[in-house]
Symmetry: C2
């Protein structure tokens, strides 16, 4: 086991099961399974039904559960009674129970020793081994191993070897595709058909979203076996998964081979090869900091795993398809936090992520209509249709920047990849429709266009006037719209003229010369917060110590807002402005959002404040990697994974965004411990490799 490549657990801890289930999620973009024990665990019912109602999204308390199975296929969604459309937790494919001399394997109650488990990020294979001393005093060594093939999207493989270390042992192994699961306490299954014939189990699940999922497993060596002392038994289970959605996408169509005839070694080899290819394009090598090294690999692993590069009908959900937090919805995280990684490592994947918004344009038009506007208004929380799924009105109604963020991301993608064809194929229509929406959403006041009733990235102020970030993004979006439509001679003249005017006269709540930029026109009127008095324990969310009512009228930011703008429009602000705003906002920012730390880290590095940047690096890593925080319980904070990549690439290595710079230009500020960092970067269609040291950098 290579410590720079493996997420590792060296003892069984009942309190951390759910955490490691999230952290050790496996997948191949198409199919994702949380890292649950194959045999389950006593005291963790998986099909309990309960009422999960929407609550404040940051501070939502999830149901206390010891373990949570999760099997997700992005795109397989269905309506929940309160939460709207959500990703459905499907039957658990890795179910494998072991009985030795009449005793059931259970990590909680059996006598287990020499436990170790690791997810090898290099090939995404999860391995667990331990010895089990049975009540009758026999000793077995068990090794579970499993993978979801990166090469053969519909195939997952698991093996179990059992060695009898003392005495002959009577072993019964049973495998299942376990349908006893719920999603957020709700049963989305309308029909389940299960057949077992010899060594083949077939489960056909129909969902309340109207889909059919077929799962088929072949289990070798099922049933009773006697293992003689010193001998070992190897059990193999191969699982095939497909849905009725696969047919639409060529790359997802299944080759219907009989799983009994599949060659296990070849499957593993193909899988490893594919992962190697993925890593070649994406691996960041840090010399001098093993902790950061593992963390960035964990982040890249989950980014690669979570993305289905072949399917523009889905994006990457907020929890990276590793849990039921945020119901499997797509946020602006995709565009702003995650996309840069793909732009520079896998442009095809990046294209499909941007194209996802084109695929959901009709939903966005429906949203605009529902609010009484023309054009297209992207959902704050999107599922596969693009219809607004957010159940809390303050976000759904007021956090409108996402519609402009998408155009920003599109332009970023085009600038970095030179894929100008995308504009014609998808972009023009997206821009035209969103511009129509903005033209209706603005209010003309005192000769200016204004955006009132806006929640910016800082979700702790729900309804502000002319949010700097939002208005700047909308201005950018309209500018690009007018530019591209004019260049291609599309769009009606009077419409273009109108959008041009709105862009020109859209109010920004700051002047170019302002040193300190107010987050919104009304920001100064909110109340100061005595953080020391309120925030008694900084290891917990600030939001837990204040009522929403008080929070909503206070100068306490959930996350970077003006600073996020400065990150996205670096050319427009001077060093002096950056410093002034950083020093003003950081102390009143709670970082209750996982999107915040990376932004601050990047800007700290940009200002040359290396200690401060290192502090945020730790914060970013801890979000999912720190077992004390258990951040990964409900899934991976995938935007933060993208954030960690950005912190290293844009922050420490100091890469200038392809949005604003034609060439690879770096302004590094490495952590003091680091000797070197090596980063692969796709730039205008070419693969480059950047090596940065404290002395400088080179590109080849």
């Amino acid at each position: 086991m290579n410590i720079n490549w493996c997420l590792y657990e060296n003892s069984y801890n009942g309190e951390l099961i759910k955490y490691y289930e999230g952290l050790m999620t496996q997948g191949n973009g198409y199919l994702h399974v949380r890292g649950s024990y194959e045999e389950g665990i006593s005291g963790a019912v998986q099909d309990e039904e309960y009422d999960r109602k929407p609550a404040n999204v940051t501070l939502e308390k999830h149901k206390k559960q010891k373990s949570k199975w999760g099997t997700y296929i992005p795109g397989i969604v269905g309506p929940h009674p309160y939460l709207k459309t959500e990703t459905i937790n499907l039957p658990y494919i890795f179910d494998l129970k072991v009985n030795a001399d009449g005793e059931e394997l259970d990590m909680e109650n059996c006598q287990i020793e020499k436990y170790e488990r690791y997810l090898n990020l290099l090939d995404g294979i999860l391995t667990r081994s331990f010895t089990w001393k049975t009540n009758k005093g026999k000793v077995l060594k068990l090794t579970f191993s499993r993978m979801i093939s990166m090469a053969d999207k519909h195939i997952a493989v698991q093996t179990l070897t059992i060695k009898a270390e003392s005495g002959d042992i009577n072993i019964v192994v049973t495998g299942d595709i376990n349908t006893g699961v719920r999603t957020n306490g709700f049963n989305h299954f309308t029909r389940i058909k299960k057949e077992k014939q010899d060594d083949i189990t077939r489960v056909i699940t129909e969902t309340n979203g109207g889909n059919t999922i077929t799962m088929c497993s072949y289990l070798d060596c099922e049933g009773e076996n006697v293992i003689q002392q010193g001998e070992q038994l190897k059990i193999t289970k191969i699982i095939q998964v497909s849905t009725d959605r696969d047919e639409e996408i060529e790359a997802l169509k299944e080759t219907k081979e009989d799983i009994r005839t599949l060659d296990l070694d070849r499957l593993v080899e193909r899988h490893r090869l594919k992962w190697t290819e993925k890593w070649r394009a994406a691996d960041i090598v840090i010399t001098g900091d093993n902790h950061a090294q593992l963390a960035i690999r964990m982040a890249i692993y989950h980014l690669i795993r979570a993305d289905n590069e072949d399917d523009p009908r889905v994006a990457i959900c907020a929890k990276g398809h590793a849990g039921e937090g945020y119901c499997g919805r797509y946020f602006w995280d995709t565009e702003i936090n995650i996309l840069p990684f793909f732009i520079h490592t896998n442009p095809k994947a990046a294209r499909n992520l941007v194209k996802f918004r084109y695929m959901t344009l009709s939903g966005a038009k429906e949203n605009a209509k529902n609010y009484g506007y023309k054009g297209a208004r992207y959902a704050w929380e999107s599922s596969v249709t693009g219809i607004e799924e957010c159940a809390n009105w303050q976000y759904a109604d007021h956090e409108i920047h996402v519609t402009a963020d998408i155009i920003y991301a599109m332009e970023h993608y085009v600038k970095a990849t030179k894929d100008v064809g995308f504009i014609e194929e998808c972009g023009l229509e997206m821009m035209k429709e969103t511009a129509e929406y903005w033209a209706e959403r603005v209010d003309e006041i005192d000769g200016q266009y204004q955006l009132l009733g806006v929640m910016g990235p800082d979700e702790y102020l729900p309804m502000t006037r002319n949010n700097a970030f939002t208005n700047r993004m909308v201005k950018f979006s309209l500018e690009k719209t007018v530019q591209y439509l004019s260049e291609t001679n599309q769009g009606q003249k009077d419409q273009l003229k109108k959008w041009e005017t709105i862009k020109e006269r859209l109010r920004l709540p700051y002047k170019e010369t302002d040193e300190l930029i107010m987050q919104s026109d009304d920001f100064a009127s909110y109340a100061d917060v005595n953080f020391d008095e309120i925030w008694k324990d900084r290891s917990r969310y600030f939001g837990e110590f204040i009522s929403q009512e008080k929070n909503y009228r206070s100068k306490a930011l959930k996350q970077a807002d003006v600073l996020e703008m400065m990150l996205l429009f670096p050319e427009e602000f001077t060093e002096k402005q950056l410093i002034a705003n950083y020093d003003y906002y950081e102390p009143i920012t709670t970082h209750d959002s996982s999107l915040s730390a990376a932004v601050h880290g990047i800007l700290a590095a940009r200002m040359g404040r290396v200690k401060e940047a290192e502090r945020f690096l730790d914060k970013v890593i801890d979000i999912d990697m720190c077992p004390d925080k258990c951040g990964a319980e409900e899934g991976i904070h995938i935007a933060n994974c993208g954030g960690l990549w950005q912190l290293i690439v844009y922050g420490f290595a100091g890469l200038k965004s392809a949005m604003w710079e034609d060439n690879i230009v770096l302004n590094p500020c490495l952590p003091r411990e680091w000797q070197q960092v090596e980063i692969p970067i796709m730039w205008h269609g070419e693969r480059k490799r950047v090596v940065v040291t404290h002395e400088g950098y080179n590109i080849n």
Copy 2:
């Protein structure tokens, strides 16, 4: 039937059943039953279960139902899965089915002629008569009549006479206490025990709120009867209702008489006598306008009916205990819209209404604590405990003025009745606790105390800065607190000093000299609305034509806000200010709230704009009385009933509020049609009678 005393329906109309059920609700403060047909109606299931989720309170679409039974005992409440604590719809006591020659009576399917139904407001007796031509060609005349005794709170009586007009008829009458009911689609009953023995039916209902309700009915002449041509049969049903809550209140304790032995004539006589007494104290007599005459009597009838003058543990819910709209909750309506009627007609009832807030002070303290504050914070929507029950956070969190309104109302009660004992008994504690809350709720900004994040009476702007109405009320409330506590040598010196300072330096978003007063500090920054473009049909709510998102950033008022303040603090604003603000705000006020029209009417009368005041009189009357609008379907807009009383008393008769004036002083401005209006007014404990004509007024 006296047209000035009766709510009258002269033909059966299936579309209006639910409307008349609300409008013709009967009750005695203790028990309330909607005016449903005794036999039910085909196609109207009463025990359907469905999910009613909280929505925007103004525009909430209620389930389309043909008929809705409702039997309510204020205080009998229980938890609903989404709506929090709500009044429970209890078993229907007036159930009475008639079968003639094998045919079931059903207004929808039977051949009905000469239908008339009227609720006599003078004695609260509801009568329905019609002829029924059966399929076999027989003709019967039926007369249903019923009352809920105002004298004997636990008793209701119904009679049915059936006359055979052609042919002998075989009649079967069955009576029931029908438990097949739900509240907002939810079953609150945990256990029902039903016994039928001879002519007695007994139903014991246990609720999920932990109460037990006992209902017992005695039905005379049940079963099969033959009525010979020209003869008639009279059926009597007496119902007794009690709950386990009754024991706490002396006046509600039941005398356990055998209902079989009760003397019907005497019951009716006692009931009528009690109503006569009620009317003597409250009836307003208008000469020259039958429509307004009936309307004010309808309003007074429902005010008297809805109030349990003996029970300070309950108040009057927003729908006057005549439906399930607003879940039977208590709002500021009680204090500001309803209380003046009781102050001047029934001070004992008024006292108990104010005392209700004292009874729920511990809930208010709990609320403050839940928001992180000391002191007491009254619920925006209260049930019997005082705990916040409002399911929509924008109202629950931000519409804080109710806490000050209660102190205003208390002072109004004391000023008008001279019941100074109330202050010591209840008031000091209420004032002290609410002042503690205010001291924590204000923010000190630039040397002033401010109230940020506030929803004023205008609920179309959810989070404003220094709402004029709210801040003025809070200032008043703190002023009274300091005054009373100082007078009685109570309260700690430093606390009093602090409250005094807050009161002194509490920001008002206007100066005394301002002609036009902004509703809040940020009001000017909202967007203007093009009403003609948006509000296509003024007979419907403005809110139906605009998304909440757009509404929340627009200058479109739901109801009077600054004007409400001018009504409550008349001495502080000049005629010129009144005119300026009326002329500014009225055109941008949608009156989507039923609280709005009366306020505007009163102020229009005060300005001598009689036509305008008449226009609002019509609007006020139409809210529940206009069958085209069906406003009473989900219950009576009881605040508007109080508003109509105020419009006549404070508006047309021009009575100066007892809050600001020691003597009865009037400044009348009668509608042109009216020759005279006669108003009974209790003033400082004395009953007065005011007669107003166009020439002047006299008091005796």
